[in-house]
Symmetry: C2
Subunit: 479 residues, 2 copies
């Protein structure tokens, strides 16, 4: 175990948010830079968080009828080339295997940046009849996109993700699936990660290469920047036609199926850090924390140890992930360590307190303490505290989002906001890509999503060109 934890100073997040982030990533042992440029090592705490995310999402996917499969990691160039937009979109970031098994390959192969091509190729040879639809597949995998600038979890050359790929008989069904999965992501962020999100449609410029429509969940970091946190794509029949995927429909005629794909990545770990973390380190939302409760015995009394073990057993019994920290460190050191690691609840068990008939729960986010009587229902107390913590963390983030969301009418306002108090700018837009490019000149502000629920009035003008507006759009600085 790392004995230098107390010396690891974490930069204040208000002083230098970028450094604060990397300090927390290191101090909480989430990840480290590796000697492979642009790649990270997922350390135990970081990988455990990913495993929890996988568990929760995977169970939800399966509940909705999806099955996991696994496609090859390398994609021959000719297969990629069948869908022009996709290859154009990903070629600049591709990593190519050119030599293998001691000789140059006849055809080079790209390390998958995403797997539409392989799923489509598989569908083409396995789909025959409408009776086999829908095909609801998902895969958990590593991908490579050769980014120039990298940052742990947020943007790395290799990352881990899930990519759902589904085929449907009708357009309507595929559209429903696209939105259903968007809502699964929204649910996961809000109800599990305690992160409020915007949901909406990406503009043509920002959508996924090859998609007809891309829907997104966007989350706002502590510093007001936006993070694209999950996407769900409606492909129409684009890939079906490019890869010649056909089926006999109910009228016994050859038809093209309708396709979707949707994914979230290890970037979610970055979102958790940057939405909830504080100057003492990581703060983990209780519903995703791999270890929810750390029990710290104070002193070496047998009575204290017994009580600590008893509490641990009670919590584990109801499925709360708990451990007793019997390591040879001082209680203060342990407190600091569990704090840096973001463990939601600490239980302090001391001899003096026991004599007075209680032990203490301490909440990571607020520092709030609660004494629990020895004969009290510790499982219920911890569960209540975790529920309150989740609710509170969500509210803090929600308030931040609300207070940093601005309605703007001029580029000058946007310039001022993005310079001094960045956040979401809500502004009308004419739908012209040229205006998006002009907006980008203002501190790199990009469209985050089209708010399809927002009403655009007759009088609404595009914030850039002043022409009649088509959409209400959220804009922000992208992480």
């Amino acid at each position: 175990m790392d004995n230098n934890i107390k010396n690891k100073k974490i930069t204040s997040r208000d002083e230098d948010f970028g450094r604060w982030y990397t300090d927390v990533v290191r101090a909480a042992r989430l990840a480290d830079y590796s000697n492979v440029k642009g790649f990270i090592v997922f350390e135990p705490n970081g990988y455990a968080l990913w495993e929890r995310m996988q568990q929760v999402l995977d169970a939800k996917f399966k509940e909705l009828g999806h099955q996991n499969v696994y496609m090859p990691v390398l994609i021959p160039e000719n297969l990629l080339n069948k869908e022009a937009e996709l290859i154009e979109g990903f070629a600049p970031e591709g990593a190519w295997v050119i030599r293998a098994g001691g000789k140059d390959l006849e055809e080079r192969m790209m390390f998958r940046p995403t797997s539409e091509t392989l799923f489509s190729d598989y569908y083409a040879s396995h789909l025959h009849s409408y009776r086999e639809l829908p095909m609801l597949y998902n895969q958990w995998a590593n991908v490579i996109r050769w980014e120039k600038e990298t940052k742990p979890f947020l943007r790395t050359r290799e990352f881990l993700w899930q990519e759902g790929h589904t085929l449907h008989e009708t357009e309507d069904e595929a559209r429903k699936e696209t939105l259903q999965m968007l809502n699964v992501y929204k649910w996961f962020f809000e109800e599990v990660l305690a992160i409020p999100v915007l949901t909406g449609r990406k503009t043509e410029k920002e959508k996924f290469a090859g998609a007809e429509e891309t829907y997104t969940i966007e989350s706002m970091m502590y510093n007001g920047f936006s993070l694209q946190s999950g996407t769900s794509h409606f492909f129409g029949q684009k890939f079906s036609k490019a890869y010649n995927i056909t089926f006999l429909n109910r009228e016994n005629k050859l038809d093209y199926p309708w396709q979707t794909s949707w994914g979230v990545t290890t970037r979610m770990i970055g979102a958790v850090i940057m939405v909830h973390g504080d100057d003492n380190g990581l703060v983990l939302p209780p519903r995703i924390a791999p270890r929810q409760v750390a029990i710290v015995p104070i002193g070496t009394d047998q009575q204290v140890a017994d009580k600590a073990n008893e509490i641990c057993d009670k919590l584990k019994k109801v499925g709360i992930s708990t451990f007793v920290d019997f390591s040879e460190k001082s209680p203060g050191f342990k407190f600091a360590e569990h704090e840096v690691n973001g463990i939601p609840i600490r239980v302090e068990v001391g001899k003096r307190d026991l004599a007075q008939g209680f032990f203490t729960l301490v909440r990571r986010d607020s520092g709030e303490k609660k004494n629990v009587a020895l004969e009290g229902d510790v499982a219920a107390e911890v569960q209540t505290m975790m529920d309150e913590m989740h609710k509170h963390m969500f509210e803090v983030a929600k308030k931040r989002n609300d207070s940093k969301t601005y309605e703007c009418k001029t580029l000058a306002e946007v310039e001022d906001i993005m310079t001094n108090r960045p956040g979401y700018v809500k502004a009308a837009w004419c739908g012209d890509e040229a205006c998006e490019f002009k907006m980008k000149e203002v501190r790199g502000t990009k469209s985050r999503c089209i708010d399809e629920s927002a009403h655009v009035c007759k009088d609404d003008k595009c914030i850039v060109c002043g022409r009649k507006a088509k959409h209400m759009v959220y804009w922000g600085i992208q992480y």
Copy 2:
């Protein structure tokens, strides 16, 4: 769903074992060939089996104190070159990324064939003191080894696996870990997969590139061929020295730690197929089957459907993975389908049987039927039947192993056995690699492992050269 299942004829395993194998892989929807040569697509049934294997093993690893991490998938050439034996062993099978992000890389990178190099590089910068030892890491990952001949699950260019990597303060501790993990694999094969294994040490010729000692579990397929099914390596201080991994020991002096690694792969799916499968398809050991019980309602009566659902709920409640097959197919078709898929137990619920007060359990391996009274304890009955099935499957495989294990004194005997009734040949060996090469000329017979528990007598002679024997060795034809 596939409606052609009845038409998919499976070759008899006694007629053509190789074809039988690929027939079962396809018919049970475990995997399919992909358009990427040497790579397979893991289909839902195959991937679900891998997920179950991961669950069981991962829980055991964690119980023993291991933590999961994740290392980069690409390894820069200079990092690989630090340990000469490893790079020599893997270079011929390496796949190289040479171009990425739109330009040629300054240094090419190998797709990991195994990750000793990256773990060692990580340890070198993170280990400082004996207090941090042991470091007990594991990773679940994909690897590439560019094999010439491939066969689904058994030998594919990309496969999935886990690789444990541990660092220890003392040689003794590292040796214990090596054997502990070998025994975990043995436990997993015998108690979970119902596959009896040989355990032993690999010869110098057959050991892992870079290891001081390699231990193996070997299993025997239906046709008598051997499959190396899992390995555990003792590295000594070899990598520590090559990668300059050091720590301050208890005497406050710089020291090199002792290292192990151990792994099992998706090849285990192949072992399950080839040990247990029969001419009707896959037979899944009940403790690993993703779906343990299929309930088939016979007829469309509401009463039948209700009873089927009630049984399903009862089984699920005690953690038995169960589903009711309400699909629009005939009962006979469903029986055949669940049979091909190897589902351990089928429950038949029919109106006439219900009227007579019972329903029926059918065991996949033996076809044995058991009527259960309506008021009977179905969970207990199913659990008992699964336990008996596991025991029986293990015994069948064990008897096969025993009946196909031969003690030989001459190469002529080996030639006869490997030609007419292949299996394990147990024969003494002098320890000379030249004799191993000569043995290989006999039908490709290779040493499987040294039986370290076997006593070599003074009079035992090497089966090849007739000199004094050093070891008792199991030999076999490798899958």
